[in-house]
């Protein structure tokens, strides 16, 4: 694969981003003095533990999981807010982080960084309250392109605001003059300012009301079709991911446990954790019916269980699950799952709750 600005062939379906065995640990040890005096050990939080995935140009990869599963850490690793402890992150074949990053072509790396932008969860926290909207949206242009003529910047900011459904005249206002949904549109306009190819969206609609969420999801889909964007869409809301994603990865305690095309994942989930999550989603068609309650809670990530991290909650766990960490393996149904039961063919047929 040729790396670099001019060399890359820009076809829909090409691999855009690749993570190989990426891990990120955080040192959450007690302070040095406590370790010495109280003989407390060093403590490592393995937030992300060996994640491998690829995102193709033009698709939306959804990443779901409960709090603390490492999905936001993956987003931050990809955009370079964290450095990986292990593994490599490649964009269009260029190593961005991890082994080989230092040797990679600097111009290609800069190009890659420029074509990636991030949208954050909280549109109240991610916009500077003291800046006018036009300055917020123009900032990436000024930072990344240096000296651009003021008139040209203004024209581009106006066009960007229009693209996300705001008026160019809104540029002179401050963030507090907008509602949550409008603020998230401003965040999207800012992310689009430098014509990125790839957007990392970390819970972009979780802080919004449902009717506003629908506006933002519709907008994101329109922009994707119009501009050929690629999305990594992170959410804890399975229904939102079902709506927006082409493929979905399910994370549990720092690992991907299942990765499959959206329809396959939602109609024929394989990993017991995915099944459990889907059973736990309230659905409007289930009026008056109870969801299947799930036993147990997510274990302490500082002290994850040995073997498959899900085994204490899994109805199918056996001796192998308690000792050996399952690897992500391709399934006959399509997609991949990290489950010994799936590999050994002892998954029971899933009983779909009939209406």
């Amino acid at each position: 694969m040729t790396a670099g600005v001019a060399g890359a062939v820009r076809n829909k379906g090409d691999e855009l981003l690749r993570l190989d065995d990426v891990a990120r640990y955080f040192d959450v040890s007690p302070p040095w003095l406590n370790r010495v005096l109280e003989r407390k050990p060093r403590v490592l939080l393995r937030a992300v533990e060996g994640v491998s995935l690829a995102i193709r140009r033009g698709e939306t990869l959804g990443l779901v999981g409960e709090s603390g599963c490492g999905k936001s850490t993956v987003a931050r690793l990809i955009v370079g807010l964290y450095a990986p402890t292990r593994g490599t992150i490649r964009y269009e074949g260029t190593v961005l982080a991890g082994e080989g990053a230092a040797a990679a072509d600097g111009a290609a790396q800069r190009h890659a960084r420029r074509s990636m932008q991030m949208i954050f969860q909280d549109p109240y926290a991610s916009l500077n309250p003291r800046w006018r909207v036009e300055d917020i949206v123009a900032e990436p242009i000024r930072v990344q392109e240096g000296d651009v003529e003021q008139g040209a910047v203004e024209a581009r900011v106006g066009a960007l605001l229009e693209q996300v459904g705001l008026a160019p005249a809104d540029g002179i206002k401050y963030p507090h003059q907008f509602s949550g949904g409008q603020r998230q549109r401003i965040s999207i306009a800012r992310a689009l300012a430098v014509n990125p190819a790839f957007l990392v969206c970390d819970e972009p609609t979780s802080a919004l009301d449902v009717s506003v969420q629908a506006q933002v999801l519709n907008l994101m889909r329109e922009l994707q079709q119009r501009l050929g964007l690629t999305y990594l869409f992170i959410s804890h809301n399975l229904a939102v991911v079902h709506h927006i994603a082409d493929r979905v990865g399910v994370m549990y305690l720092g690992r991907i446990v299942e990765l499959a095309p959206t329809r396959r994942l939602f109609t024929r989930p394989q990993h017991p954790y995915t099944r459990m999550l889907l059973d736990a989603v309230p659905d409007l068609s289930l009026t008056g019916k109870s969801r299947t309650a799930v036993a147990g809670e997510v274990p302490n990530p500082l002290d994850p269980p040995p073997g498959c991290a899900f085994h204490p909650r899994c109805p199918l766990a056996n001796e192998r699950c308690r000792t050996e960490v399952p690897r992500l393996l391709a399934l006959a149904e399509g997609g991949e799952a990290a489950c010994h039961a799936a590999e050994e063919g002892r998954l029971p047929a899933r009983v779909v709750a009939a209406a």
Partner: protein, 326 residues
């Protein structure tokens, strides 16, 4: 449904916030009743007034917010005008409360046992030992493993889901007949959410406790509530049996709201979207507050405010359902 005397009747409730720039009406002419043992869901977007309605009922409005008109009647007795001390005896004893964030509903400096025992002994005539035995039984009932040991733990030693179980135990401690649950599962992960909803449903069914369930999550309402009230800009725009409101909504706002919820079952290219956003309280339009966003608004909607009108099995505050259109 409510054939006997309602347990709780809210009549023409109006909550106001006096400000320097005039009075904001946050809850406007809200009326509903809850029968003994019934679960009434109140759903709406942020700022619709659903939480304030709950706070007004238990007398916990933050000043300068105040009940400006209407009344709250619990079991035939008016409770909205009671003195502080009398209201305090009703809170906990007659009406329990569960809030969104279990960490802020529990005192971090006391063990959970002490907090439950204190609540029990405030309201019920029990000795310390009896109250403690009841506290252990309550914790067992809400599904806390090793309750006899866990009772001496502090709130921070529990996970989020377990903490919310403690809060439920606390709300049930004095055997209230009504529980006001304000977003009880919003801070929880989906798998824990299912556990808590089931628990709440089972306990209220077993004890015959009525619930006012305030949430923005239609899914939680769908599986829990008997009836649902949809709020918009401080008013109830639709109220009726939950299956009817969800499957055959009558108010255009409810129709839009239901269409905007993504599902894990059906696949749609676009979600229905209601353009614009809910008006701020300072700028509620005249007539029906939804009229600027309503696809079916006509002249009357812009000038005259609709009250709840019977629309099949539900009631909707919408002129489309008026018998004789003006």
């Amino acid at each position: 449904m409510p054939t006997t005397q309602p347990l709780l009747a809210v009549e023409n409730l109006r909550v106001e916030f006096p400000t320097r720039r005039g009075t904001l009406v946050a809850v406007h002419d809200v009326s509903f009743a809850i029968a003994p043992g019934e679960v009434l869901g109140v759903v709406g977007e942020s700022g619709a007034g659903k939480s304030l309605t709950g706070s007004a009922i238990i007398g916990l409005l933050d000043p300068p917010g105040r009940i400006a008109a209407g009344q709250v009647v619990l079991d035939g007795k008016r409770i909205d005008n009671l003195p502080y001390e009398a209201m305090r005896r009703i809170r906990g004893r007659e009406i329990g409360a569960i809030f969104q964030d279990p960490l802020t509903s529990l005192n971090p400096l006391y063990t959970v046992g002490r907090q439950i025992v204190e609540t029990i002994r405030t309201h019920l005539d029990m000795s310390e030992a009896e109250a403690r035995a009841r506290a252990v039984a309550l914790l067992e009932e809400v599904g806390i493993p090793a309750a006899a040991r866990r009772i001496d733990h502090y709130p921070h030693q529990f996970s989020g889901g377990m903490r919310q179980r403690v809060v439920i135990a606390l709300a049930l401690a004095a055997k209230p007949r009504l529980i006001i649950a304000d977003e009880p599962t919003t801070a929880l992960d989906v798998s824990i959410q299912a556990q808590i909803i089931q628990l709440l449903k089972r306990l209220c069914h077993d004890h015959g406790t009525a619930v006012l369930l305030v949430t923005h999550d239609m899914g939680v309402i769908a599986e829990t509530a008997d009836r649902v009230a949809v709020m918009y800009a401080g008013r109830i725009v639709e109220i009726g049996p939950v299956a009817d409101v969800i499957h055959r909504p009558q108010h255009p706002y409810t129709v839009g709201l239901m269409g905007s919820i993504p599902s894990i079952v059906d696949e749609r290219e676009r979600l229905t979207q209601i353009d614009g956003s809910m008006p701020r309280l300072t700028a509620v339009p005249p007539g029906c507050p939804f009229n600027p966003r309503c696809p079916r608004a006509f002249d009357r909607c812009r000038s005259e405010r609709p009250d709840l009108i019977a629309a099949g099995p539900t009631q909707a505050a919408c002129w489309l359902h008026a018998m004789v259109p003006a």
